[in-house]
Amino acid sequence: MENILYKFINITQTYPELARELTTVLRWIFVVLAAYILLVSIFSLLTTRCTPEIWGYFLVENGGNYPITHWENVIGRSRSSDINIPVRTISNNHAILNRQDEKKWIFKSLSENSTSVVNGYKLEPNKRYLINTGDEIVMGGVHCTVAPASVEESRNNEKMRRLDKTPVAPWKILLAITLFQLLTIVQLIIAKGENLTLSPVICILLLCAVMWTYVAFFKAMGSKGFEMEMIAFFMTTINFAVTASWNPGNNVKEFISAMLGLGLMIFMCLYMRDLDRTRRLKPLVIGLSVLILILNLLLGTIRYGAANWITIGSFSFQPSEIVKLAFILIGAGTLEELYQKNSTYMYAAFSFFCLACLAIMGDFGTALIFLTTYLVVSFLRSGDLSRMILAFVGAGLMGVMILRFKPYIASRFAVWGHVWDFADDQGYQQTRTMSFGAGGGMLGLGAGNGSLRHVGASSTDLVFGFVMEEWGFIIAVLLVLCVITLTIFAVMNIVAGRSTFYTICACGAATMFLLQTILNVFGAVDLFPLTGVTFPFVSTGGTSMLASWAMLSYFKAADMRQSASLAVRKEA
């Protein structure tokens, strides 16, 4: 294989003019392919809305008949209740109704003042009771019952769902990505010449093979929606090209991390199919996270100003990236848990521990991401805006303290907004990012042709500029749009979500991705002080790559489109 590669390199070096012309044309092709791949995927994600599944009916005397569209429902007088009974004697959030299986439901009265009576038996508040469909429930004097979805109705439902627009078929996109990957190899050969080693070429080819296998396998298993994976595979391809341009020796590491991440994603998707099983995992995840953060504090090595690395032999990783996954899982909760104070306190305590560890490590970029995720997830859980604002103000004060005691951080704030006046000291990285990035124009200079790679952290913190220079402004912005799309998708799918657990997971993951992208992009182009945070999938670094892929499972778990997601068990 090495011989073949050198043969190609020889050809391009024999006809340099021709090779240059080829790059000129390739730049256009890359942009067109990328736009096709990403826009088709984005469009498919945002237009294939799903009809919510109906799990049963809640019948109220005197005519109310409410379809139950989630596994977890709040019954109450408040308008935002899932089952809204506008009767004075019923509390705002009166009770929770959770689906156990086709015939059994769990009923839990939340209100201390009003009463719930089932089949004549008075229920104690905050205790779970198993009820059957058809049981008589009396809440605040109102008679109700849970009715199963009739077989006929279920069928109708299925038909309705079949009428939903199906996700786009993956084959054309797969072909486009494959073409993109092959042409990337050609471009790297032209640009790098003898500096190109075999490993990036093989890694890109292997990624291509894995991509086809993944889609073919799960397609055969009946899965339909692959847009998110397509986006991830595409972003990973850009990552491999960036690595090849920056330091081809690292490609193998990136590849292995991506594969581990993909494996972890599949595992998490399958594991999360069972909600109870997933919830039981929480204590273990908390224990492991605390352990690895403590290990990090004890054994951490400093890189780029933050002691957030653990090195064992020649193997090093960033524990905080892994803890991100745990952080989301622990923040998530079923509707029932959201009404339990213990669960809320535990989450707050865990968050505080994580933030404290990150602060000690000096990794303030990641701390900011954790903090924001905590605030967003807390708001999703409680809906308490005032508490969120309070927490935010508190965090702001802490931030001011940090600035006082860490001159290194303060100096970054000092140049913020006018980096061009400090072009050769604190503004060095940002000015280079913008200068080389602008040099790339809309179409880029071609992979391997950039010069930003000679600047420190170019392939991680400044990767947005790296992509702008070599791939052009259009592709760089498309990558940002991908992250935005995942967020919109996560929010859109709550309508049909089965459990708050999944939707909080997806929104938490979306917040993490968004924050990472905001800090990475804004920091590199002086819209915000440079904090040294990675761009999901695109920044080089094994742990970041692995975490990005695994994080995707949270989005997959929220994907409620008809047999779209492997995180959702198919109905028999």
Binding site: N73, V491, L515, L527
Partner: protein, 452 residues
């Protein structure tokens, strides 16, 4: 679940932050991309701190400077290099208004679509509007005196000649930056006492404001004492009217005319002539002139009206004003970049607005013609339909500065010019021949180019 649905909008808010930020950056990218790309830190286009691609040539395609990876290569001829260095720029970028600084993003071939990507990696060819040979003529005419020659086409705005001395050879050892005079472009950066050339502005004020100007007479005895101060002239002009006062450049007469017009009107007409604002030329702003017309001090006001006292004019602004007189009152913005299209030749250059009423401009033109006939001698400008005003500005030095401004009105040579020689002596004796030789050179080059 419905509660979570609503609360989740907060995620969309974050997404909006990201989207807005990227949009803001996108706008900046479009606006400043060229600037960013040509930043000296961009090693794609800089080798050893010097720009490594792009060519600058004159209006007839004579190469003045070529930027390569092996350094900057200038024109072969010593005189051409010295005559054009202020237009082209020096390797260190010390001449702020040099093409190498001002047209950097064009030189590197930056455009929004391709960035600095270039198949040839040779950059772009920038065609300046100057005529290198005419610049050499101007440079030779100035000799080793400090001064400047600026010529532009008052219809299209193209600057044909821009020479500032002292000058230096950009291919040789660069002068010390402390010795700022070399890097100073008098035409753009200068603010100089205008002397009698300013009477063109005073005259415009008189034409518009003194109805009885045709009956104006002044008896010049050569000393012209006013309020105990002498407004001396070279010799006694005897009885002069308004026209002959300008032709003879009679200080006594113009002192009185200024007083008749008054301080406020003088201020207004100086502003209308564009002399108190910088001129913008391809994004470069010239120095700003400054004047003061005190209403309570008639002596000082008189001096100000004849271009002395605190009067300081930027030569480029003066050129634009003279061009406006030629162009029946409408001022045209000067430019150094040769337009690829012929459109400018037909439609004219970018208008800066009306500096003078048409009637005022026509009367001034006729008076400037009269200056040539009565004073400078038409025979001295053979083959040129020339209109002019000389100036001899007292700066307190041992010899006055010599000025000569004006324009020609040939269909193939609609040129306005400004010549200034520091401590040169009398304007009409010293500066006028320089203007003549430069315009001859311009006409000759044009004729040659057209016959080819």
């Amino acid at each position: 679940m419905r509660k979570q649905e609503r609360r989740a909008y907060i995620c969309l808010l974050l997404a909006l932050v990201l989207f807005t930020g990227v949009c803001v950056f996108g706008v900046r990218f479009v606006q400043h991309g060229g600037e960013w790309a040509s930043f000296y830190g961009n090693t794609q286009i800089y080798t050893d701190g010097m720009i490594n691609r792009g060519t600058v040539c004159d209006r007839y395609d004579e190469v003045l400077m070529e930027c390569t990876r092996d350094g900057i290569i200038y024109n072969d001829e010593y005189d051409v290099r010295r005559a054009t260095v202020h237009a082209v720029g020096d390797p260190a970028g010390n001449i702020a208004s040099g093409a190498i600084n001002v047209f950097k993003s064009q030189l590197i071939g930056y455009d929004l679509l391709n960035g600095t990507y270039d198949t040839s990696a040779e950059g772009k060819r920038i065609k300046l509007t100057i005529d290198a040979r005419a610049n050499v003529a101007a440079y030779n005419a100035l000799g080793d005196r400090t001064g400047l020659v600026g010529v532009f086409n008052w219809k299209t705005g193209e600057v044909l000649c821009m020479v500032s001395t002292p000058t230096f050879d950009p291919a040789g050892r660069l002068p010390d930056t402390e010795d700022g005079g070399y890097y100073f472009n008098n035409f753009i950066d200068g603010a100089i006492t205008p002397g009698s050339t300013f009477k063109l502005v005073t005259s415009a004020a008189v034409i518009d404001n003194l109805k009885n100007r045709d009956s104006f007479t002044f008896d010049c005895d050569g000393v012209n004492e006013y309020n105990g101060v002498d407004f001396t002239d070279i010799h006694a002009h005897g009885e002069v009217n308004f026209r002959s006062a300008l032709a003879q450049s009679c200080n006594g007469a113009f002192g009185e005319l200024t007083r008749d017009v008054g301080a406020d009107v003088m201020q207004e007409y100086t502003e209308k002539a564009g002399l108190t604002e910088p001129v913008e030329m391809d994004g470069v702003k010239t120095a700003t002139g400054s004047f003061s017309f005190p209403s309570g001090d008639n002596v000082k006001l008189s001096w100000a009206g004849i271009g002395q006292a605190d009067d300081l004019v930027n030569p480029c602004a003066m050129l634009v004003y003279v061009g406006a007189i030629a162009n029946e009152g409408e001022a045209i913005q000067p430019t150094m970049i040769k337009s690829a299209t012929f459109l400018r030749e037909i439609t004219g250059g970018k208008s800066l607005g009306r500096y003078l009423e048409k009637g005022t401009a026509l009367e001034l033109r006729s008076m400037m013609k009269n200056n040539v006939i009565e004073n400078y001698g038409e025979e001295n400008f053979e083959g040129l339909d020339i209109y002019a005003k000389s100036g001899t500005a007292e700066t307190g030095s041992y010899r006055p500065d010599a000025w000569f401004v004006g324009f020609t009105d040939d269909t193939d040579a609609p040129y306005a010019f400004v010549v200034w020689v520091k401590e040169g002596g009398y304007g009409s004796e010293v500066a006028a021949p320089i203007a003549r030789s430069v315009i001859w050179a311009l006409k000759e080059d044009r004729g040659q180019y057209e016959s080819e």
